[in-house]
Amino acid sequence: MNITFSSFREISEAIKTKKVSAVEVTKHFLDRIQLLDTKLNSFITLNENAIQQAQNIDDQIKAGDVLGPLAGIPFGIKDMLCTKNLRTTAGSKILENFIPPYDSTVVKKLKNSGAVILGKLNQDEFAMGSSNETSFFGPVKNPWNPEYVPGGSSGGSAAAQAARLVAGTIGTDTGGSIRQPASFCGVVGVKPTYGRVSRYGIIAYASSLDQAGPMTSNVEDAALALEMICGHDPMDGTSSQKVIPRWSADLKADVKGLRIGILEEALKSGLDSDVEKTVQNSIEAFKKMGAEIIPISLSLIEYSIPVYYLIAASEASSNLARYDGVRFGFRAEMQETATSLDDFYSITRGQGFGSESKRRIMIGTFCLSSGYHEEYYVKACKVRRLIKNQYDEAYKKCDIILSPVAATPAFKLGDRISNPLAMYLNDLYTTSANLAGLPSISIPFGLSKNRLPIGIQLTAQAFEEQKLLNAGFALEKASIIGKEKPYVI
């Protein structure tokens, strides 16, 4: 069997029927990491206990235990998710040596369903970035062309998945951080409805926007992994108590009569010509499969960038206040006794955070500060409701909204990093789903003239993951990616 390109179901079937051992599968991917990751820099930390975890799976199979659906599937985890006794850095110097004494609920659930954790994946620092260039551990390269960024902030997850250094990965998405790198690297990325996935143990960037989700090679794997990590968690007071449907079992590529809304604003906005062509092709594909195509307008989408950055930065400025060098994490070397408390904090935080984190902390601090709080933070929260209301209206006319993930394919390393504003505008089509809490998926669909992948974004109503996955499953069948392979593979 070709382990590299097999699906979760194929691998776990082979392991359960002892055609291959979990240890062999884990070793296979560890070898690939060894061989290829020097070109990509997608891993920050490898799990020394991975083979032991795989051995446990094999032992359980031998003992005749009933194992979970992800038995023996090797996963890479974005370094935003805490892993017990395994270093977790959020891509930051300030957590360079942090060893959590706890697992995030997502990781716990993955382990419970049999997954093996291979290691921790690179990312923008505290998930603040759209190119993976803000990581303290260096940029990640796009496996399709190492001169290009993999996108961000889950750039390590996207790159490792595209290069098949792992069978599956988990990313996090606050304003597009799963979907945009998925698009740039040609993998499937799902951001579930806000509240579906427990945030416990996921390092907070912006609490009212953050969700974790799978980044995989195909929709079927994504559906299965999502099913495993979702569900109510008593450790997260904002996790939904709704029952998790059996998305993977009920996956159907049938879109007959499904109303696909096409985001008009995107098509009028001067998209990159390759992206525009890809969007048109995806519309054609849906038409052919019997879906109903309906133009949809979300006039407020242009405000989603300022609203998103305002809210995300405000929440982040508070969420990142805990990194103070007292209980964990980096503490700057200084003469403790001769330093005032304020200097102690400022020097530690000044050295521990990278420049993008500092920028967002400062923006957020400003927007919450007395005198500006109403005009910026509160105003943004009000516009956020307007955006959500506009989505509610749109979903009276359609089931799924289709748009590009980003206006362009991946850009070159170094191209935008010195211009924060240009980088922020990159997130135009992704942030609104986070603002409205909606489930959204990126399906690899086209290739640019430069042979860079281009994804299509589908967004559904809250808690309508099944519809979303089904539409994505259908679209995937018409995709040209899958036949094409990245350069690094």
Binding site: I99, G195, S239, F344, K382, R385, L421, Y424, G437
Partner: protein, 97 residues
């Protein structure tokens, strides 16, 4: 709202409030960037939001409250293990007066 701009001094104040030590050159850079970004934010000031409730949590989530049950799952040693400086089971910091 478009008249709100931050100057060099304001940026230094924000940095202080955020407990971030930055040098003069960084402060200058941040001043330029923050003004650009605030310019982007000012876009929303023209939107009418009269009578609109601010939205914090975007989806309908059922309230969940913990029962009052005490547990002890971590030792104090485990809790101070990540601390940059400690004494016994306590965290150690520069003098606070």
């Amino acid at each position: 709202m478009s008249d709100i701009k931050v100057d060099f001094k304001a940026v230094q104040h924000i940095a202080k409030l955020s407990r971030l030590a930055i040098n003069e050159q960084q402060a200058q850079e941040y001043t330029n960037q923050l003004n650009q970004i605030l310019g982007l934010f000012d876009k929303i000031s023209n939107l009418s939001t009269e009578g609109i409730e601010p939205l914090v949590t975007p989806t309908e989530i059922e309230i969940f409250w913990r029962e009052d049950i005490a547990e002890n799952n971590y030792s104090s040693e485990e809790m101070v293990a990540n601390a940059p400086s400690q004494q016994g089971s306590l965290f150690k910091v520069p003098p606070v007066v």
